[in-house]
Amino acid sequence: MSKKSSTDCPICGFEAATSEDMYCAPHEKASANIRSAFSVWKLAYGNLTYPRFIEKLSKLPQAGTRTREVAKFLLRQER
């Protein structure tokens, strides 16, 4: 049976994936991918800040649509 989760995804309003998660399942997956990619990106560019990273990601055509949505959301929060 479906339980109404305490939080809804702040990006799309769908139910959060689990009680610990902030986002729905697709946005959560994108968010996890973003988190683990930052170290690789930092290494690649040498001196990359987190805000610059998500800004670049939010405009990258190769990034998935959910990835860009999460990046845009994080960017708004940073500001």
Binding site: M1, S2, A25, P26, Y45, L60, Q62
Partner: protein
């Protein structure tokens, strides 16, 4: 003619022979007794005349009547349908049900081409009995597919319907479920993809007035600092030729075509979808110019008479030179592939020239099949591949070249074999050359590629789901149901939701391993190591528990699906053109009183706007992305079975600009309540074979 059905009659020494076509399946699985359309699960079934099961198949009733009446007083029966599972089953059901149990005394005709010679020979050498085990396997497949399809689809549709919020006819099935899941998994991977940056180094040298592009030895440089360092180190410097290596290599002729490889090659060269290739190949087969296409064999047995076929091909202008060239060899030994099929050889041209006019797709496919057939008799091709390595300090650069020494089979397969030659710069080991240009470019790893109809078919084949004859059709069904779209396949939100629900409540249905295991069991029926009843019982015991879980979760499934269906429907029904009176969004809505559909303004409550436009009342409506050339309003496409597609502008007709032609298809909306509707026919009816293009 007999009862409106054409048949042929001839007289032989043994007596008169009547031949009547079957036009596909005349019988199919249906519910046993009267069962309401919204009841599930359904377990009782029997075989019925297709005309009783499907509304659109009513015309088949006269075929059954005609065959039944022609078969009266016959003393011998022959099933001469295509020699494969479906053909065996079509023949068996007709003989059993329309000819009152004649399957017990019927014989089977076996052939791979429709040439006069082979048909006569097949008729002389009839198998005394029907290939019952093959037909039983086919029967079991139809029964299982029906049980899975009707129960799962009803579970999805009914659980949504019971929420009383939205309606959509949802479907899934034994093969459809895992196939859709391949697309959905890929979609989710692409959606949440985070690309990794890398850099490439592009360098150019000039030798004797000609430019050559060099690759850096490391094709992907992982950091910008390393990439910039390479550019700084080498800019304006000389490179020294370190080595030139040349290798010769042979390439064997390709294997003869089985259906999947023909579909792949037709997609590569002509962009035909697998279902289109199959349909075109079948037309060529019926025209007796190629052999039976639904084959998994990559072998050409010697008794086909290679020399005779090549001799006949040499009589056709386009192929006379090449076929003649092969015929000079004393021994003809074709390249054979690893796959085999007990019923048919690989696809080959019969050698007979086309008797009727060939359409462009038929011409293309015929040419591909003929050239592939000739190529398999060719010699291996021989070419050299050379690599020159140039260095500056620790940095190495490569340039590659290739040259054809002996074209071999590629000559026969041209233009479908790519023959490229590229030269190396004329430099020797130790010589130096100046770098003309060097630059580092920032790039990003691309997301995994989307499937196209061909690669999705390959994926199904790899996972052993579906059969060579039905895979293309399954993909077509996914398009028709709106679960996938575009030629580089995208899964729709509804498809993602269905896969998610099935994964949560009945993961077994999505498991390709489960479906593949079932295919194995069906093969075992064909090989007579298992019976149909045994397979049905074993599979259904598992499936019953799947259905039990779905029934228990009905409420959950329904509410989740409802939300997605509603979101999708609302998206599908909102026009891009805003209301010309108040600027609010326009939507396709249905009048609560008259039940007629029309375009209404969403600003009705808030702004009191009463703007509305009429719509055709019958057929499936789709909002197009095109605008009306006269007024700029969004166009509407109407599709009705048996009628031509129509594109209309709801706004223009109110202004009486467009003409009306198909009044009978689209009765005018109630003139008192709504403005009148108009239709303009701008497009021809689609052919039966459609390509999925964006």
């Amino acid at each position: 003619m007999h009862g409106g059905v054409t048949f042929f009659e001839c007289t032989t020494r043994q007596g008169s022979v009547v031949v009547c076509s079957a036009i596909g399946h005349l019988y199919s699985v249906g519910t046993k007794g009267k069962v309401l359309r919204n009841t599930y699960p359904v377990w009782d079934f029997n075989w019925k005349a297709k005309s009783q099961v499907e509304r659109r198949s009513t015309r088949l009733a006269k075929w059954i009547a005609a065959i039944g009446s022609l078969a009266e007083n016959a003393d011998r029966y022959v099933n001469a349908c295509d020699y494969d599972i479906e053909g065996s089953l079509i023949g068996l059901t007709i003989l059993r049900y329309a000819c009152h149990g004649a399957d017990r005394k019927a014989s089977r005709m076996k052939f791979s081409t429709m040439t006069d010679r082979e048909l006569r020979e097949a008729y002389r050498n009839l198998s005394p009995r029907l290939d019952s085990s093959v037909a039983e396997a086919g029967r079991c497949r139809h029964e299982l597919d029906w049980l899975y399809g009707i129960n799962l689809s009803r579970a999805l549709t009914e659980s949504t319907l019971k929420q009383r919020r939205s309606y959509a006819a949802l479907s899934t099935g034994r093969v459809q479920g895992p196939t859709l899941n391949f697309v959905v998994e890929r979609e989710l991977e692409i959606e949440s993809f985070v690309p990794t940056p890398y850099w490439t180094i592009d360098a150019i040298i000039e030798s004797e007035g000609k430019e050559y592009t060099l690759e850096y030895a490391k094709p992907r440089v992982p950091t910008s600092s390393e990439a910039l360092q390479v550019v700084r180190d080498c800019e304006g410097q000389d490179l020294e030729v370190e080595s030139v290596e040349t290798r010769e290599f042979h390439q064997l002729p390709p294997n003869p075509f089985d259906l999947p490889s023909l579909q792949a090659e037709a997609f590569r060269h002509f962009h035909y979808s697998p279902s289109k290739t199959l349909a075109v190949a079948e037309r060529l087969y019926l025209g007796a110019v190629v052999s039976y296409p639904r084959t998994s064999s990559q072998k050409l047995p010697r008794d086909l008479g290679y020399r005779e076929i090549l001799h006949q091909l040499s009589q056709q202008n386009e192929y006379s030179r090449l076929a003649g060239k092969i015929l000079i060899s004393e021994r003809l030994t074709p390249q054979q592939g690893p796959k085999d099929d007990p019923a048919h050889p690989a696809i080959y041209p019969t050698g007979e020239p086309p008797k009727s006019f060939l359409t462009d797709p038929e011409k293309n496919l015929y040419d591909l099949i003929v050239r592939r057939f000739m190529a398999v008799f060719g010699e291996p091709s021989l070419r050299t591949l050379s690599t020159m390595t140039l260095k500056h300090g620790p940095h190495s650069f490569l340039t590659k070249a290739s040259r054809v020494l002996n074209a071999g089979w590629t000559e026969f397969y041209a233009p479908y074999s790519r023959e490229y030659s590229q030269e190396l710069p004329d430099l020797k080991g130790g010589e130096r050359v100046q770098l003309k240009k060097i630059a580092a470019t920032e790039k990003f790893v691309e997301p995994p590629p989307r499937y196209n109809s061909n690669s999705l078919l390959r994926r199904m084949e790899q996972a052993h789901i579906g059969t060579k004859a039905t895979r293309a059709e399954t993909i077509d069904t996914l398009y028709k149901r709106g679960y996938i779209k575009k030629s580089r396949i995208e899964a729709t939100p509804l498809a993602i939701e269905i896969s998610r629900i099935l994964a949560r409540h009945c993961p077994l249905i999505l498991d390709p391993g489960f479906t593949a295991k079932l295919e194995e069991l069906l093969t075992e029926i064909q090989e007579e190591s298992r019976t149909r009843v045994n397979v049905l019982l074993e599979t259904l015991s598992q499936f019953r528990s799947v259905m039990r879980d779905l029934v228990i979760a009905e409420d959950d499934v329904g509410s989740q699906l409802c939300r997605t269906v509603a979101a999708q429907t609302s998206l599908d029904r909102t026009l891009m053109s805003p209301c010309p009176q108040c600027g609010s969004a326009l939507k396709i809505v249905r009048s609560r009183q008259s039940r007629k559909r029309f375009i209404g303004c969403t600003g009705r409550l808030e702004k009191g706007c009463s703007f509305s436009l009429p719509l055709p009342q019958f057929g499936k409506l789709t909002l197009l992305h095109q605008k009306c050339s006269a007024c700029g309003f969004q166009l509407v496409l109407t599709r009705s079975k048996g009628y031509r597609k129509m594109i209309s502008c709801a706004r223009c007709y109110v202004n009486r600009v467009r003409m009306t032609r198909l009044k009978e298809l689209t009765p005018m909306a109630d003139p008192a309540a709504e403005p009148r509707s108009a239709i303009a026919i701008l497009r021809k009816a689609p052919s039966s074979v459609q390509d999925h293009k964006e």
